[in-house]
Symmetry: C3
Subunit: 132 residues, 3 copies
């Protein structure tokens, strides 16, 4: 089973994935940072960064040349176990960078942690699927 | 928090966004109109229309030259407060218009109202993000 | 109403649609097959196949030349009636086939069955919407 655990937690984690997507689509750095646990780790093909300060710098690097972004997210798995969870998130990113539209289909392998009753990302590992 | 309020209402509003997307993707005007409250307002860059009669005419104008449409919706926020709610919905529209495929990434800023136990759109404000 | 029946069943069927999409996006045949009831029927414009053995052969045919696939799913309707359900699922498929990217917007008309407490597809009927 790809989706396991209490219904309310599965719904909250789905909404966290969408809150992250909403922040990226509106280029809202504060909302995006708030999706991550304080010591969260983000791994991409380029780098691995840890903690809000490093995440913030990585965001700045990525979005410097970005005119606009659409970030669609669909959960592929959400498995809740108490106050931690694992999951997968498929994303469709359409970005206009210095006037040129680029498109990516990619996947996040995710770990979540609940802190003060609220779910956040403890780790996201990005894997490119199809780049255009 | 981007998603707040009772779980059953958040689920129902998500499904309303999808019912609207389903209607657009199947070019089903009756189902689309039924998603709107009777005196709902739809604001786009072109116009602001209010009420089912005006919405119906706008649909007719938009879909006259439309051969096919795919309308994907993803909630970015749903905030329920009693019998009203606010939200955001990111959409990916792929339309074949007189044989030519056009693509849009856009955002709706939404207001919802519950009437007779059922959620509908009270207001949708459309903002283009990326047009191809 | 496009979405009817118990909330937990609507959520489980949404997750089944996503489990199928996750399997296709990761080219995971075992997970994909497991989404289908044993005697399920899959109807496409090319053929109608029934049962896991025939589904397995059809998967092999489809994925022989596939380098990568992104399969996004959005429910358009989920109507639960006891241990059976009907629904619609809109899909965005982006495939890299022998190095070339092809894109499809399509729709599934679905029937579901609950067996041993778990929902699976009893029938999926595929209709192409927009092909690029």
């Amino acid at each position: 089973m790809q989706f396991t655990g209490p219904a309310e937690d599965r719904a909250a984690i789905r909404e966290l994935m969408e809150t992250y997507a909403d922040a990226a689509s509106r280029i809202d750095k504060a909302q995006w940072l708030d999706c991550w646990a304080p010591d969260a780790t983000w791994t991409t093909s380029h780098a691995e960064v840890r903690g809000h300060e490093a995440l913030s710098r990585t965001w700045d690097d990525l979005f410097t040349r970005m005119d606009a972004m659409m970030f669609f997210a669909m959960p592929g798995a959400i498995q809740v176990d108490g106050d931690t969870a694992k999951g997968r998130c498929h994303v469709r990113e359409i970005a206009r960078i210095e006037g040129k539209v680029m498109k990516f289909a990619a996947r996040y392998d995710d770990e979540f942690i609940r802190h003060d009753g609220r779910w956040r990302f403890a780790r996201r590992t990005y894997a490119m699927n199809i780049a255009e």
